[in-house]
């Protein structure tokens, strides 16, 4: 038998380098200090836009938890802590690009244009919460993990076959990378060289299971090479880094350069959902102010803007107030819409209502006859 130390000499042998971890692409440090050469790719307006949107969606997130606790919404999956990853990525898209989010990607959805009212209605369990604006190519949250990656692949495939420069992006977590569909989607995208961006938010936990239990490889980004695609590992708490990384991946895709796997390393501050108790699987107390301060993408970007003199406390105050008003108005609007009618469940099952559905619907409407 060939000795262990001789293996690396063999032609065709590949040794995994355990300690050779892919570093993070980062533009802004936790203290607000930034890579000036990278900042040069951004305008002040772009930075402010990213910041404003991050603040807006965090307000939504907190408001949603409150509403759930008040009994006004159903189970909700909060994303606080992941705003930089979601907002930074979604703002790098064109409106015509396709977005495939999960249930924790409300920040990305809203950033891409999903109305707040629809977002509320969705979490209120109303059927019209599944409405998609006609001019928006976005799907509502995909619940079965990783299955939507293939939809992004198919959509990108269609765009490519028609010679369009539309790109599709799918959002997923670290847990999704264990699913077979993750592999199938990346493999298809690689084989057919498709304009799709695989945007993974590695937030360290799939509900309770930490990333080390999810994956033996230390990073997700490194898997890109197995599919002959580019990959990048980016600081998911750095909205500017995420924005730049996604922007170039998207542009490359538009230009026919094929898919990219992006790993945005981040964390969720809160529970998996409002039905989850994170203290059962992690030391939530250790995630204190200081811990969060170092990781919070909003804090980081505000520091940068304050240091650069392009943001002020009064602007911050105005932003918080206007966002709060917008949210209240949106929720009031959502709450004012009548409850979904039972018969609506029968709509759109098929293009044309089949006889048995018609009878069941009429039976329901008539008051319960089978």
């Amino acid at each position: 038998m060939i000795a262990e130390n001789e293996l690396s000499q063999l032609t065709g042998f590949f040794r995994h380098r355990e300690n050779d971890v892919l570093p993070l692409f980062r533009v802004v440090q936790p203290d607000g200090k930034a890579e000036e050469s990278m900042l040069a790719h951004l305008t002040v307006e772009q930075i402010q836009k990213i910041y404003r949107q991050m603040v807006r969606v965090r307000q939504f997130d907190r408001k949603s938890i409150a509403l759930q606790r008040q009994g006004k919404m159903g189970t909700y999956a909060p994303f606080e802590g992941q705003e930089a990853a979601q907002v930074g990525s979604a703002l790098a898209l064109r409106r015509s690009d396709w977005v495939f989010p999960t249930y924790r990607d409300g920040a990305a959805s809203m950033t891409h244009g999903m109305p707040l009212k629809t977002m509320f209605r969705y979490w209120m369990g109303q059927l019209d919460g599944f409405d998609v604006p006609d001019d928006l190519n976005i799907l509502h949250p995909c619940v079965p993990i990783a299955t939507h990656l293939l939809h992004a692949v198919g959509v990108a495939w269609a765009a490519k076959l028609r010679g369009e420069d539309t790109v599709s992006i799918c959002y997923f977590g670290d847990g999704a990378t264990s699913e077979g569909d993750f592999h199938e989607a990346l493999n298809f995208a690689g084989v057919f060289h498709l304009p799709v961006v695989f945007f993974c938010q590695n937030n360290g936990f799939a509900i309770s299971v930490p990333f080390q239990r999810q994956s033996a490889s230390r990073t997700i980004a490194e898997r890109a090479s197995a599919y002959a695609m580019d990959g990048i590992r980016v600081d998911g708490n750095d909205g500017l880094a995420v924005y730049l990384a996604v922007q170039s991946a998207v542009q490359k895709a538009r230009d026919g350069g094929g898919p990219t796997l992006i790993e945005a390393v981040t964390q969720r501050f809160g529970a998996h959902t409002t039905a989850d108790d994170p203290t059962r699987y992690r030391d939530q107390a250790s995630m204190d102010e200081a811990w969060r301060d170092e990781r919070d993408g909003i804090v980081r970007l505000r520091r940068l803007m304050l240091q650069k003199g392009v943001w002020s406390d009064s602007e911050e105050q105005r932003l918080l107030e206007s966002t709060s008003e917008e949210l209240l108005a949106a929720f009031d609007e959502a709450a004012a819409v009548p409850m979904s009618q039972p018969a609506e469940m029968f709509h759109h099952v098929y293009g044309q209502e089949l006889w048995h559905l018609k009878e069941q619907r009429q039976g329901l409407q008539a008051g319960g006859e089978a």
């Binding site: 293939l150 198919g154 569909d181 098929y350 293009g351």
Partner: protein
Amino acid sequence: MAEELNMVQAIAAALDAKLADDARIMILGEDVGVNGGVFRATDGLQKKYGQNRVVDTPLAESGIIGSSVGLALNGFRPVAEIQFLAFMFPGLEQVFAHVARMRSRTRGRFQLPMVIRTPYGAGIRGPELHSESLESLFVHTPGLRVVVPSNPYDAKGMLIAAMELDDPVMFLEPTRLYRAGKRSVPGGLYRVPLDEAEVLHEGDDVSIFAWGAMVPVAERAALALHEERGWTADVVDLRSLMPLDRETILRSVEKTGRAVIVHEAHKTGGLGGEVAALIAEEAIDCLRAPIMRVTGYDVPVPSFAVEDAYLPDEDRVKVGVTEAVTYE
């Protein structure tokens, strides 16, 4: 111009006709391109229409179905071939969670005009997991249309209709009938409705309902019983399993008062139970005998040394029919 074609040729003809007719039609699957499909249902099509329209995919059923969902979302009308029904298992999540639900969960914003074709059923001495009949899984999934042709003419006409429908269609092709016989099949485009059963023979004593490879079995049994006992039977090829053609089913049972359902899928939870329930709910006053089911057994479809014993045959159908007709 009509041609004498067997079922697999008729399917190829349908695909050919629609590929020529509609640029949005795309075929994808394992070995469908260069090889023309393991049953040759796509023979010659890649050569004719190119690699972008007749695509050899990686060996990944979820990938085939999931990417078809995306293609359909974005303007194409994909026709996915799954090599054998049991090979669809990795892709069932896509079928159940997305293919069936897309129109409903997007409230009509997105529809999935796609067809999933798959050979199914036993009787070709296939290896393990090449012989399943799991149509009831799909019938039990709202949002899917489910059809099964039993002859070359229907196969082409129904496949064309399926490719033109804006809802996803599970198109189950009885493998045993692929080359079971030729029939005159018109050239070009024609459609066979996707919601109508066909009454193949008319009679008075009993109604025999079957689909797919069980149709010729039911026909032979009916013929034999006519010769031996003088009984006459309605033999009904259901063809469309979702939706069921209620009118035809009930009209027949109301006439004969007796129903026998023949399918090769397992008995328990099989679609025969649904047909029986429909009759019981809506035509019970007509029943002169218990509704009989003649089906495959509730065992994993066995290896082919004994698959003939697993499958309902003429004799088993005759027993079921006799039980119904002589019940008094």
